[in-house]
């Protein structure tokens, strides 16, 4: 165990734990747009930056992303010092210049006192903040269907060669993790369209309720050793069927009906 100080409070942490996790545990709210526990920390959004120092540093301070900084004995951390606040404001201000129309970004920026950007609006900006969550989660799931392409200001999230991604299964995880809801998809009839690729949507054979795509079901069946017929019906129909099964096994036998 390691002893550190956060905002004046002395806390204990496990060796090798990241500062962000410790702060979260202590109930300290730090914004972290590119962070998700399903994937490795990335350090791209810079919002989780904190100010650190140590007694032996003679007043020298460093600014580090708490998502990636492992705790050290004797670390003194400030999560909301003036410089850190100014940094968060600048980051949000710069992001607003790039994604001026994102309500989620506007809300987060407003919470930090930034109501509009003071910089030149980037032409043709969309709502992608390039946090990388969609691509990292897709890789984590083992599909690697999308990635960030291009360098610097031309960076964007796209499938290979900007064509329909061969490895995408239409699970919509990217849509779910996007902090600005920038990724769109369409479910129409039995077809799901996302990233320019069309998928067959499986429908419950009893109720017709749509569940997941056929491609996703096949991938799960193959990789996770799950019988493919599990995906034939929806969850509510599974529950109904279980109830009927349990009912038929109960002590109260049907033949006792009058």
């Amino acid at each position: 165990m390691v002893t550190i100080t956060i905002n004046g409070k002395v806390v204990q942490a496990r060796e090798g734990e990241m500062l962000l996790a410790v702060c979260k545990r202590e109930g300290i709210d730090i914004p972290a747009l590119c962070h998700h526990d399903a994937v490795e920390p990335f350090g791209a959004c810079r919002l989780c930056m904190v100010e650190i120092t140590k007694d032996e540093w003679n007043g020298w301070r460093n600014y580090v992303t708490s998502c990636l900084y492992p705790v050290e004995e004797g670390l003194i951390v400030q999560t909301h010092s003036p410089k850190v606040i100014e940094l968060r404001r600048t980051v949000l201000d710069l992001q607003l210049a790039r994604c001026p129309n994102s309500p989620e970004l506007q809300k987060l920026a407003a919470e930090h006192g930034v109501n509009s950007t003071q910089y030149e609006i980037v032409p043709d900006g969309d709502n992608c903040i390039l946090c990388g969550l969609c691509t990292r989660v897709c890789a984590r799931l083992g599909f690697h269907a999308i990635a960030t392409v291009g360098r610097g200001h031309h960076k964007e999230v796209a499938p290979p060669l900007k064509e329909a991604p061969p490895d995408c299964v239409g699970c919509l995880s990217c849509v779910q993790v996007c902090p600005t809801n920038n990724i769109t998809y369409e479910d129409k009839g039995n077809v799901r369209t996302i990233w320019g690729k069309k998928f067959e949507l499986l429908r419950c054979s009893k109720t017709g309720k749509a569940t997941i795509t056929k491609a996703f079901a096949e991938a799960l069946s193959t990789r996770c050793d799950i019988p493919i017929d599990y995906f034939d019906v929806s969850d509510d129909e599974h529950r109904r069927q279980l109830a009927l099964k349990m009912g038929s096994l109960a002590d109260w036998a049907p033949k006792e009906q009058s």
């Binding site: 998700h36 526990d37 399903a38 994937v39 989660v137 984590r140 799931l141 083992g142 699970c171 919509l172 995880s173 779910q176 993790v177 499986l202 569940t211 997941i212 996703f216 079901a217 799960l220 990789r223 996770c224 050793d225 799950i226 599990y230 995906f231 929806s234 969850d235 509510d236 129909e237 599974h238 529950r239 109904r240 069927q241 279980l242 109830a243 009927l244 349990m246 009912g247 038929s248 096994l249 109960a250 002590d251 109260w252 049907p254 009906q257």
Partner: protein, 145 residues
């Protein structure tokens, strides 16, 4: 694990108190969550039975999770979903053969029974003891011969 949630269907009256208790016990910001337990018709003559996660030994939900968000709590025996890791891909919702992994649309979360961390509320509230959280003897497997 030391105890199991035991369901005795013929004692279930379909009163749905368990469903209510579960929903309230899993409130977020004072808004009730989706219940993880559902009394449903058992197929004949006023038969009802509560359908709840069986905490399978070979759980399809855990196998289907590609980000390892589902894991077994060795103490309670429950398969628990780590919300921080979940990416809401719905694999477990589709894979569970008993439909016990559910999507809570109100809170935009995937949820499943976690045995209330070892003290299930539904068992407390069931008026007929159709739901009981009972200690179990370790299963001794006969050697196949």
């Amino acid at each position: 694990m030391k105890a199991r949630l035991v369901v005795t269907p013929n004692l279930c009256t379909g009163c749905r108190t368990c469903e209510l208790a579960c929903a309230f016990a899993h409130s977020i910001n004072r808004k009730p969550g989706r219940s993880r337990i559902y009394p449903l018709p058992g197929g004949s003559h006023e038969m009802w039975t509560p359908v709840v996660c069986l905490q399978c030994e070979d759980p399809a939900c855990m196998k289907s999770c590609l980000v390892d968000a589902l894991s077994r709590n060795e103490e309670t025996g429950a398969i628990v979903l780590d919300q921080d890791k979940c990416v809401k891909c719905m694999a477990c919702v589709a894979a569970c053969p008993f439909g016990c992994s559910l999507y809570d649309a109100q809170h935009d979360l995937v949820v499943k029974c976690d045995l209330c961390d070892g003290d299930p509320v539904c068992a407390h509230f069931c008026p007929t003891r159709a739901l009981e959280f009972k200690p179990i003897a370790p299963i001794r497997r006969k050697a196949t011969g």
